[in-house]
């Protein structure tokens, strides 16, 4: 087993990995950029090394600096977490060359999954289902019409070189095809310098379900069940749960077996996730494989009773998987809320700044993987994920009740967070009925918000305002010095209140 592991990441995931190391008696080495000295992952590590300026390219993405710390600290393995260098084959190669074990798949397996065309060829050979469509660009309208007639409407035109929705068109019926093809081509040409467009069957408001796999270095590959990740905003996951309310035992086995075939086709080792699009008829199609630990791995940990990070470390150290497929049992239900420093009431504006008050929830079935603490200043330089609130219960209803209860206990002050979004989701009838797909959040936000603040709450607020003023607390560390006083009609309020408090104190 490793003696010392360098964690090439920050925030909650670095804390999570550090905890696994501690539990295994392994020394945890943190790295941090100039703005992260005060970050929780540094406080929770055994050793910590600065690696450069705030800009990720000069610190958390700087392979040379990180390997230099590995050498100086004497680390024998590196855990990359997620994001940053976690799916960078060049980094995996550099680790191998430096004689440090990369905790993750081999560079060759990452390469195989990184290229969409190569991956598709390998997967087709392994009999993995894809969304029906063309694997090459369409040359003419006639050809497009031919393909369309075969796969059926609605269909999607996609730029071969594309990404981010550019060069994409949804076509609902044959009359729209010509114009959509022209538009997609010219947009693809303008955006990517390549007008090649291919056709795929459109799956309208699909579900997004992924399968966790684990593979050791001795040829054993297992699946650990699926995660339902359909709740997304702009292709970003918001809330995940396991198991998926949509997947039964038979479908789980079929998806799991396909996921194992995907991993084996790429000679995959360590933890990975195979993502599928699922249509309302429960057909599932391979989307991509994520060659790293996922943000949402805790929901799988809770329903399987396994520690995925510890297993990753054991696999990397050369140990065989300590259980068989039949021994993987799914029990109960788990759900994760991604707590972001952003304002759901104001277009999801990011909200970095100092956390002045933090009241974390606790109690039965509640787990928190957090990277924040009271008094810490959330830097502006990185992803706004602050923490993950994860609930566990006997069934879906109990998890929802526990998370709703925990969210009412939870308070993050000083910055804006999306806690209120989760309170709303968990109360939503459609969510409770598990009618989930990638269009859910848009539908929910188009429904009128139930904002019946009870009159007694407003009265309580009025009385509380007076009590705070009378007691002269808290000392508002107001931004009034730099403030502009042009808030929505409340500009003069605070200083008056502060003065009232001071007068009272002098009495």
């Amino acid at each position: 087993m490793f003696k010392k592991i360098l964690i090439a990441n920050r925030g909650e995931i670095a804390v999570r990995i550090s905890r696994a190391c501690r539990e295994m008696g392994i020394t945890a080495v943190a790295v941090y950029s100039d703005v992260d000295r005060a970050s929780l992952h540094v406080r929770k590590a055994d050793e910590a090394y600065p690696i450069g300026p705030a800009a990720a390219a000069e610190s958390y993405l700087n392979i040379a600096r990180i390997l230099d710390v590995a050498r100086r600290s004497g680390a024998d393995a590196i855990h990359p977490g997620y994001g940053f260098l976690s799916e960078n084959a060049k980094f995996a190669r550099a680790c191998a060359a430096a004689g440090v074990k990369f905790i993750g798949p081999t560079a060759a397996a990452m390469d195989a999954m990184g290229s969409k065309t190569k991956a598709r060829q390998a997967m087709e050979k392994a009999g993995v289902p894809f969304v029906p469509g063309t694997s090459q660009g369409v040359e003419s309208l006639e050809q497009a019409e031919g393909v369309a007639a075969k796969i059926g409407y609605p269909l999607m035109l996609k730029a071969a070189a594309g990404g981010g929705g550019k060069g994409m068109r949804l076509v609902r019926d044959p009359a729209e095809l010509k114009r959509a093809l022209e538009a997609a081509r010219s947009e693809a040409q303008r955006s990517f310098g390549d007008g090649e467009v291919y056709i795929e069957k459109a799956i309208v408001n699909p579900r997004h379900i992924e399968m966790q796999v684990l593979a050791d270095e001795h040829g054993h590959t297992l699946y650990l069940g699926e995660r339902e990740c359909s709740l997304q905003r702009r292709h970003q996951k918001v809330l995940e749960e396991a198991p998926s309310p949509f997947v039964d035992r038979d479908m789980r086995r079929r998806m799991g077996e396909v996921a194992v075939r995907v991993a084996q086709a790429a000679n995959y080792t360590n933890a990975g996730t195979v993502e599928f699009l699922v249509d309302p008829e429960k057909n599932f199609y391979f989307l991509e494989m994520n060659t790293r630990l996922q943000v949402e791995h805790p929901v799988t940990e809770l329903i399987t009773g396994l520690d995925l990070v510890q297993l990753q470390i054991r696999i990397a150290a050369g140990e065989p998987l300590p259980f068989t497929q039949n021994e993987v049992q799914i029990r109960g239900h788990a759900m994760e809320c991604r707590i972001y420093a952003e304002d759901p009431d104001n277009n999801y504006f990011p909200s970095p700044g100092r956390i002045t008050l933090l009241l974390p929830p606790s109690g039965p079935g509640i787990r928190q993987d957090s990277g924040m603490y009271e008094g810490w200043e959330v830097p502006i330089d990185y992803d706004p994920l602050l923490a993950k609130l994860i609930g566990y219960g006997a069934d879906r209803g109990q998890v929802i009740a526990r998370l709703a209860r925990a969210l009412d206990e939870y308070f993050v002050g000083g910055i804006k967070s999306n806690l209120s979004l989760f309170r709303r989701i968990l109360r939503d009838e459609e969510f409770r009925a598990a009618r989930l797909d990638t269009g859910f959040l848009d539908r929910m936000q188009n429904r009128a918000k139930d904002e019946t603040a009870h009159a007694d709450m407003a009265e309580a607020a009025a009385i509380a305002a007076g009590v705070f003023a009378l007691l002269g607390a808290p000392k508002p560390n107001m931004a009034s010095e730099r403030g502009t006083g042009d808030g929505p009609g409340h500009g003069s309020g605070i200083s008056t209140w502060k003065n009232a408090g001071r007068r009272e104190a002098l009495r």
């Binding site: 504006f349 970095p352 002050g413 309170r423 607020a461 009025a462 705070f468 009378l470 003069s492």
Partner: protein
């Protein structure tokens, strides 16, 4: 103490006094049985009758917010004897400042001084936490002044521009 308290725009007249640990409270002419305990300087446990509320105090950029449980209220307290802070002049008319809602970097400006802008038109793009955010005009009018340049760093509340 006599206070005028404004909660989400609604004005309450509050008479609140404390003798030892006993409170007396008259809200809009009604006697209310109140018992208050500060759990910490910004967290108040409030009993009204036998009903318990946990109230969190959070000073935000330009306003004071009180959270009763998970419900947020904007609060303002005035001492009527001072007759101050009554000016609520500039809202619809007159110049309006466009300020940064968060710390970040100005990526680019979308308007120039003298430009006509519609309500909700983009004024500047601010980058924070890898996200680009368009700061929008709070009213229809003319851009009177731009106080930042592309590339500069801003704090919450900093004035980016003035629209009149």
């Amino acid at each position: 103490m006599l206070y005028e308290v404004i909660i989400d725009g609604k004005t309450f007249r509050l008479e609140l006094n404390r003798a030892d640990s006993r409170w007396s409270c008259v809200l809009d002419g009604r006697d209310v049985e109140v018992d208050a305990l500060l759990a910490r300087p910004d967290v108040l446990s409030l009993r009204i009758g036998n009903r318990v509320y946990e109230v969190k105090s959070e000073p935000a950029a330009n306003e004071w917010q009180l959270w009763v449980g998970s419900t947020r209220f904007t609060a303002e307290v005035r001492d009527p004897r001072s007759w101050r802070g009554r000016s609520r002049a500039e809202d619809e008319h007159g110049p309006k400042k466009v300020s940064a809602p968060m710390p970040g970097k100005i990526l680019r400006l979308l308007v120039r001084e003298g430009d006509d802008v519609a309500l909700g038109a983009g004024i500047a793009v601010v980058e924070a936490m890898k996200m680009q955010n368009e700061i929008k005009s709070p009213k229809k009018g003319v851009v009177r002044k731009i106080s930042v340049t592309a590339g500069s760093t801003v704090n919450p509340g900093d004035v980016l521009a003035v629209v009149e």
